[in-house]
Symmetry: C2
Subunit: 434 residues, 2 copies
C-alpha cells in the first residue's frame, strides 16, 4: 500500500460536512476497502469563517486551484447548481482527476458533455447521490440491469412535495396551507420553487431516463408540472376512488410502430397523479423516496430509502468515492454509462396517459350523453363513470382509458364549454391502474 | 470493435435457457453496452438429447473441455450444487476466464477459496443471481454501500417458504396442508428440504453477511431453523398481536464491549419469526423477495423484486455478464469484495432476540406470578403480557424484550416443567418491533 489517495472536497454544507466527517471516522475501513488510505486534502468554500468545524489548513476559497492541484487524485463536488460547479468539474476532469458529484441539475443539463470529457480524459464521473439520496439506484440501473431492457421507471423522488401531498391527504388542507406547514418545519426551503414546481424531480427523471434507456435525456426533454395546482378537492376525489395523489417522475420507453417506420421513443414526465392506495408507491411517506422499475426479464423491482439529508446523501457519495478510488488503485477507469440508443423524446401531447375527471353538472336529461359524446369525439375511451345526483345538480366522476395526452386535454377544454357542465372540479392523471 | 467475446454456458435448465435466449435476442444492445459483441460458443449439459432448442453445434457433454477452451473468454455457471460446479469454476478461473455464477450453495460454502483463486488469476467472479433472483442486491451491498457501515440485513429470500406461510395465514391451514398445495402448484419441489428446512435461505444469508460486513461467513456459520414446525396456532397467535409469520434471513453486526476487550461479531440466522403487519417486509407475498438493509449513514433501505424464475434470474446473470465483459474489454478485472474484517460468528445462544410465547395455564391464583418468576430467573425481561381467562383455564400471551437466545430457550424449557402451565402452545421469535 503506497501513500493515500488525495481528495478535494468542493462545498461544505450539510452533505459536504457529513462526507468530511465520515471519511475521517471510517478511515480504517475505507483504506481496507480501497486498498489505499483516502484523505481529504482540501475543502473549497466561499466563506471559510463559516466553517469552524473544518481544520483551517484544509479550507480554501480557491476552488479552481484546489481541483487542479497536482497531488489531488479525486474530486467530490457537493456545491450544487450549474456554475461554478460545471467549470470546476471540467477543470478537474481535464487535470486527470476522477469526480464524484451529487449535482442533479448539472448532470441533467449537461451530462453528455461531462461524460464525454471524462471518457476523453480516462477518468470516472459518478453521481449516485444526485438521485434519491441514499438509495442505490443509478448503479443498479447502469450495471445490474445492463443485460435487461428497462421499460419503465416510476418514482417518488422529491421529499418536499411528498411531505406536502401526504399532509394534504391526512388533514384535508389545501396546497398553500400544507406548504406553509412544510416551510415552518424545515421540510420546504424558503424559496420552494425547485421542489413544488417539479424542477428537482425533472432533473432526476432526466438522469434516470438517460441511464435506463441508454440515451441522452436532458431536463429540457422532461414534461414538468408541479403540485401548486393540486387542490384539496383533487385529494378528496382521489380518496373516493381508492387512490392517493403523488408527484411522480415517470420514464417510459414507448414502442414504435414498425409498420409506420416509427422507432421507439422515450417519454419522460413529472406531474402529480392519482395512484391506487394498493400500489407500492402509495405507502411511501414523508422524507422517503422510492423508485419502481419494470424490466423485460427482471419484471418489477422497487428501491426504497431516504431520499435526502446530509448523512444518507453522504453515504451515496462515499460509495462512489470508494468505487472511483478502487478504479484509481486498479489503474483503470470504470465503464461509463452507454448512450448509444439516440431515442427521440416523445412530446407529452403524444404520450398515452389516463385521466380522472370530476364534473359538477346540471341534473337534466341527456347530460351524461353530452359529456360522453365529448370524450368520444376526441377518441378518448371512458373506463369508469359514476354519477351522483343532489337535487338539480349531479357529480360525474370519470376515469378514462389511456389516450394521447393532447386528446385528453382537448376533451377537458371542450367540457368546459358545455352549458350543462357547471364546473370541472378536478382533473388529474391516473397512474398504476391495471 | 474487435471480434466477439466468447461465452461458455454451463447448464441449460430454466435459467440457462433464458440466458441463452436473451443473449441472442439482445445481441445488438449487449454489443453496444459492452463495446464488443457477446456470443455463446458452447453449452455444457449432461443429456444433449434433452435440449432440442439449443443449436446442436453448441452442445457438449465435456464441460471441463469447454471452460478451458483457448478461445473462451467468459464462463456462466448455472448448474447449481457443489460439484462439479466448483471444479469447473476453478478450472475456468485458472484458465484465465472470468466467471458469472448463480450458485448460492457453492458461494456460501467456498466463497473465500473461489475469490482467492479469481484474485490470483486476475479475473472476475460475479454472482448477483445467487441471492434474491432479479433484485440488484449484491452490487449495492458491495459497491453502493462501500462507504457506509451496514448494521443489519433482514430479508425474505426464499419464495417457497414465503408462499407456504402466506397460504397458512390466508386459509388457516397447517404446514403439511400448505406444503402439499405448494407442491401441487409447482411452488415447492418434489424434495422440498432445501427450501422448507432453510438451507437455501441460509446459503443466501451467508453470502449477504459476507458482503455486508466485509468478512468471511459460510453456511456453516448460519443458525438455521426451517418452517416445518410452524403451526396454524403460531400463525393465528401472530395475527392476534398484529403480526405475520415470515421465514427471515437476518444478518447483524453486534457491537463488542470495548471495556471487556470484546470486538464486534456477526450473528447470522435463518428462522421463522413474527413481524408486525406494518413492517415493509410483512406485505411481501408469494414469489416476491425483499431485503431490508440498515446502514449507519444511509439509514433504512429496501430492495424488492422477483426472487426466482428463469427470466428474472437470467436478468441478474446478464447484468453480471455485461460487467465482466466490460472489464475484459477494459483489460482489468473489477474490484473483488473485501473480506478484511475477520469478525467472528456469534453463536445463536448469545445472540439477542425477542420471543412471543403463548401458554395454556390453569386459572389459579399466583399462576402469572409463577410464570413471570421463571422469566425473571433467566433474566428475560417481559415487554407485554395478555391474560384471557376461560372457566378454570387461561391463555397467557407474553412478548419479551431482547435477551440472549439461550436465556429465552431456557425459560421456555423451565415453563414446560411448571405444573400450572398446561401447555406451551406457541413459541416464535419476534422481529421488527420497536
Amino acid at each position: 500500500m503506497t501513500g493515500p489517495l488525495k481528495v478535494a472536497l468542493l462545498g461544505c454544507g450539510t452533505v459536504g460536512s457529513a462526507v468530511l466527517r465520515l471519511v475521517d471516522e471510517q478511515a480504517a475501513d475505507l483504506a481496507a476497502r480501497v486498498g489505499r488510505a483516502v484523505e481529504v486534502v482540501g475543502v473549497a468554500v466561499r466563506r471559510p469563517d463559516r466553517h469552524p468545524e473544518v481544520p483551517a489548513g484544509l479550507l480554501t476559497t480557491d476552488a479552481h486551484g484546489l481541483v487542479t492541484r497536482d497531488d489531488v487524485d479525486l474530486v467530490v463536488e457537493v456545491i450544487g447548481g450549474i456554475e461554478p460547479a460545471r467549470s470546476l468539474i471540467l477543470a478537474a476532469i481535464e487535470s486527470g482527476k476522477s469526480v464524484v458529484s451529487a449535482n442533479k441539475a448539472l448532470l441533467a443539463e449537461d451530462g453528455v458533455a461531462l461524460h464525454a470529457a471524462a471518457a476523453k480524459a480516462g477518468v470516472d464521473l459518478y453521481y449516485e447521490a444526485s438521485v434519491a439520496g441514499a438509495i442505490p439506484l443509478l448503479r443498479p440501473l447502469r450495471e445490474s440491469l445492463a443485460g435487461d431492457q428497462i421499460r419503465r421507471v416510476v418514482g417518488i423522488v422529491n421529499g418536499t412535495t411528498n411531505y406536502i401531498l401526504s399532509r394534504m391527504a391526512e388533514t384535508g388542507a389545501g396546497f398553500s396551507e400544507a406548504l406553509a406547514e412544510a416551510t415552518e418545519l424545515g421540510y420546504a426551503e424558503a424559496d420552494p420553487t425547485a421542489d413544488v414546481d417539479g424542477f428537482d424531480a425533472a432533473a432526476k427523471a432526466a438522469i434516470l431516463a438517460s441511464l435506463a434507456f441508454h440515451t441522452a435525456v436532458t431536463a429540457a426533454d422532461v414534461h414538468r408540472e408541479g403540485i401548486s395546482s393540486v387542490t384539496a378537492t383533487d385529494v378528496a376525489r382521489a380518496a373516493e376512488i381508492g387512490c392517493t395523489v403523488k408527484l411522480l417522475a415517470i420514464c417510459e420507453r414507448v414502442a414504435g410502430r414498425p409498420d409506420e417506420a416509427e422507432g421507439d421513443t422515450v417519454a419522460v414526465r413529472v406531474h402529480p397523479a392519482m395512484i391506487p392506495t394498493s400500489h407500492p408507491l402509495a405507502a411511501v411517506g414523508g422524507a422517503f423516496n422510492a423508485v419502481f422499475v419494470e424490466a423485460e426479464a427482471a419484471g418489477q423491482l422497487m428501491f426504497y430509502g431516504q431520499g435526502a439529508g446530509g448523512e444518507p446523501t453522504a453515504s451515496a457519495v462515499l460509495g462512489d468515492l470508494v468505487a472511483v478510488a478502487r478504479n484509481r488503485v486498479a489503474g483503470a477507469a470504470g465503464a461509463g454509462p452507454s448512450a448509444y440508443a439516440e431515442l427521440p423524446a416523445r412530446p407529452i401531447a403524444e404520450t398515452p396517459t389516463r385521466y380522472h375527471v370530476s364534473l359538477d353538472v346540471a341534473d337534466v336529461p341527456g347530460v351524461l350523453a353530452t359529456v360522453a359524446t365529448e370524450f368520444a369525439r376526441h377518441e378518448v375511451s371512458i373506463a369508469t363513470v359514476r354519477q351522483d345526483g343532489y337535487g338539480d345538480a349531479a357529480t360525474l366522476v370519470i376515469v378514462t382509458h389511456s389516450a394521447p395526452d393532447a386528446a385528453l386535454s382537448a376533451t377537458i377544454a371542450a367540457l368546459r364549454e358545455v352549458p350543462a357542465v357547471r364546473g370541472v372540479t378536478s382533473v388529474l392523471r391516473v397512474e398504476g391502474l391495471s
